[in-house]
Symmetry: C2
Subunit: 170 residues, 2 copies
């Protein structure tokens, strides 16, 4: 090979390696982060289903807000704790959710997950009925931020029902 041929071959190889590395980094680590968020979302749902208050709260960032239907914004650790303490007190409480979609920013510091939930809780269905257990199916949207230690934490937690809650038949 001439010197020129070797130079061309070298540059070609370099471009190939850099190209492959860029693609691997983009798809590979994107899906690592997506998997991390899907795993966290599932663990969070399990903690909530088990009424594990400390673990449920551990998924929130310090500056998190809950945007729940029918009540104003719950902002910060104390308000968020009060929301979950209230939920877990309800004898009819049951909750689980499953992730449908996740998107992560290229810089891997911001992401969202969305999906659907199934809940049961005690509610007055109308002013003409007594409080009774109801079932609700709905959807949620969670915004996640990468915490300083590298873990994903929820900074906005929002949900709403797909239809009015319905009384549970007994």
């Amino acid at each position: 090979m001439s010197r020129k041929q070797r130079a061309v071959l070298f540059l070609f190889s370099l471009a190939l390696v850099l190209g492959v590395a860029a693609v691997a980094q983009k798809s590979g680590s994107q899906s690592v982060e997506e998997r991390a968020i899907r795993a966290a979302d599932a663990q969070w749902s399990q903690a909530a289903a088990a009424k594990d208050l400390a673990k449920t709260l551990s998924f929130y960032a310090d500056d998190a807000v809950i945007l729940a239907p029918g009540v104003p914004v719950a902002a910060g650790r104390e308000a968020i704790r009060a929301v979950w303490v209230g939920e877990f007190k309800d004898p009819a409480y049951a909750l689980s959710w499953s992730t449908q979609a996740v998107e992560v920013s290229r810089s891997r510091d911001l992401a969202y997950s969305r999906g659907s939930y199934d809940a049961t809780y005690t509610r007055a269905v109308s002013p003409f009925e007594q409080n009774r257990p109801v079932r609700e199916h709905g959807k949620y949207l969670a915004v996640w931020k990468k915490a300083p230690g590298g873990a994903w934490r929820v900074t906005v937690d929002m949900y709403n029902p797909d239809a009015p809650a319905t009384p549970i038949k007994r």
Copy 2:
């Protein structure tokens, strides 16, 4: 100055310039993107208030979803158009919102805005009352993605009320 002194001065100046540039880029362009999203959110609200269907729809990404309370997910252009056509048909329709918080990923490809809205619309408040205009105050969360052309587009649009809608006094 000796050659060594000049070299040290050069390296010091270089570090200073790079440091200033990094800080300027971080705070400056982050706030440029935040301002862009706040401006888009405000223009979007104005388009919705003016019942400008084409302009209202133009803020959504192709793969956008609306997560509205009381109904299932509306996914994609046609479903989103149908939502807004329905809203604008209502003679009691009025809507505006204002941004409270915006966060943008470092890579400036993903962001969210959240804030509060005021709406009026026609609804049966209970099975024992006729359809009538009601007023609703609530909160929203919008996830924005940078479109190929550089504009920010909404990919998830979610809201829920702070309290049940109340009949408008006449």
